[in-house]
Amino acid sequence: MKKYLPLIVLILLAVMPLAGLAGLLSSYILHMIILVIMWSVVGMAWNLLAGYCGQVSFGHAAFFGVGAYTAGILHSHLNLSPWWGIPASIVVVGLFSLLLGLIVLRLRGPFFALATLAMGEVMRISSENLDWLTGGNLGITLQRTWVDKTNYYYIILAIAVAAFLVVKYLMRSKIGYYFVAIREDQDAAESLGINTTLYKTIALCISGALTGVAGAFYTNYMGYIEPSVVFALHDISIVAIMTVMVGGVATFFGPFVGAIIMVLLAEVVRSIPYLGAAHLTFFGILLILIIIFLPNGIVGDFQKIKRIFGAGGAGK
């Protein structure tokens, strides 16, 4: 049963928009689901770099934003369909990650984290100031391809499935073993013949490219981007971290669980009058609670959760 679970979930996800045709699924709920899937992709990307390879990034907004602007600039400057941004962002953000890696991968642990954070901020400020390229603070507006959300849903679902398969394949191969070895002990890994610099760079590039694709999708889906949104520290970089921390670090399904919770939480908080501005407080408190009580996330600490709730429950 457990073996087929992903397949069943996938089939359900594939036929879900049919419910929309039957009037059971509002456009608003479909929008939420699209956001959840998009955040799952970003979460999987962050998880690959941080959860598996141990390189905690505080600046995934840099990748997301560069991906988003790749699509936007292709449209605004070259008059191409912004959908070209999705394949293009793999190349652009991949190269960007490579360059970034040359600088930041010299650092270990928290210093790497801070360097990526600084990088995300630099990208935001650069995009605010490079008016000729990015349109500055005005951002880039484009005509969305479809009014209906169903096609967007299938596209992001396809991206997510592809990302999932990539991560799953990598983690079963030599690269996956090397990533985890680097996370557990970089010196030991190096002494075992693992080129730690090379494999950290690989992790960064794949993670960056996946995040960039999500960013390019965002441009297409929202039809509008601006620096303070796509390069946002809290609403992108930190939410990427939280998606995985809440869901489960170094688990395959953690990013999905985390994305569901994060999108729902953000939506619930925003919909409560007067509390809309407080969503970061709730995020922050959730982050603090998770780190203190469930440091490996909901999926990672599932046994712990079951113990706590199962003790008095009927299941035991």
């Binding site: 905690v56 984290a113 801070l114 600084a118 605010e128 170094a250 780190i291 203190i292």
Partner: protein
């Protein structure tokens, strides 16, 4: 030439304040081996204390140093005791959990400030906010005209005095010596009977108090808004890298260098690019001077 010297002066004055922020972070990093990403947000809290003291009671921001520093000390102690310390004991896959925790704390502080005080820009319009001392007033035949803003200069002097007081505390008092011992070698400190746990709490309080004081020194000449913390956290971090991790003297030099560099960037490149300049310095320090300024000082010391 004139504008260059003027820019240099502004840079040094700014650098003195930066040094104070950097010292707070480097102290915490040295003793606890963690980066406090809520550092800038603590400064923001200090600034709001000074702002409200001024607005409600007309207390001069410089006097608020003596109010904000103790409050921030207490806040830092609480954070360390009830949030960070428990996490140090929890086993997790990512050792960076403590750092992520401080991000969470910073988010809550910044967001609460927005809710409570709105995201409006605030300032303390002190009577002397725009006054300055001019070189020509004192030396009538001066070939060039230079000025020292009153707020910048007084803040700088305050920063120097606080730094000296801190140096005295670390060098001469028992608690200060214990903190230094903990930073150098935890095991040795434990063997010598230092209460490492308490030193951690004290250090976190001290680092917070320093950055809170820096906030009071900043507010006479800067605008205050809830989300300014992030950028100052980055500044503190860049200074720490530039100065050498855990090195107080390094942080002073790092602060001055960064202050001068930012002042130059603002004059000769453009205001908006200062953060990019910061990052360039940061990268240059990492590539060319991995141990920071502290490593240079050490080398010289050995040769002597």
């Amino acid at each position: 030439m004139e504008s260059f010297l003027q820019t240099l002066i502004a840079g040094v004055l700014l650098g003195g304040l930066y040094a104070l922020i950097g010292i707070g972070m480097t102290l915490i990093m040295g003793v606890m081996k963690i980066i406090n990403l809520a550092h800038g947000d603590l400064m923001m809290v200090g600034m709001y204390i000074a702002f409200w003291m001024f607005t409600l009671f007309g207390i001069d921001p410089y006097l608020s140093v003596f109010i904000a520093a103790p409050i921030l000390f207490f806040l830092g102690v609480l954070m360390q005791k009830f949030l960070i310390n428990p996490v140090l004991k929890v086993d997790s896959i990512l050792p960076e959990n403590q750092v992520i925790l401080t991000v969470g704390i910073g988010m809550v502080l910044a967001n609460l400030a927005t809710i409570l005080f709105t995201s409006n820009y605030r300032s303390t319009p002190v009577s002397y906010s725009t006054s300055a001392w001019y070189l020509s007033d004192y030396w009538h035949s001066a070939p060039i005209e230079l000025s020292l803003s009153v707020t910048g200069t007084v803040s700088f002097i305050f920063a120097v005095v606080i730094t000296l007081a801190l140096w005295f505390f670390l060098a001469k008092t028992d608690t200060g010596k214990s903190i230094r011992a903990t930073a150098q070698d935890i095991d040795a400190a434990l063997l010598m009977g230092v209460n490492v746990k308490r030193m951690r709490v004290v250090t976190f309080g001290l680092g917070s108090a320093l950055v809170g004081a820096a906030g009071c020194l900043f507010i006479p000449s800067y605008y205050l808004y809830p989300s300014l913390g992030g950028q100052f956290t980055l500044i503190a971090f860049v200074i720490t890298i530039l100065g050498g991790l855990g090195s107080t003297i390094g942080a002073i030099f790092g602060g001055l260098i960064l202050g001068i560099f930012e002042s130059m960037t603002a004059t000769y490149v453009g205001m908006g690019w200062a953060p990019v300049g910061r990052f360039l310095i940061f990268v240059a320090a990492l590539v060319f001077l991995p141990g920071g300024i502290a490593s240079l000082l050490k080398k010289k010391g050995v040769r002597r």
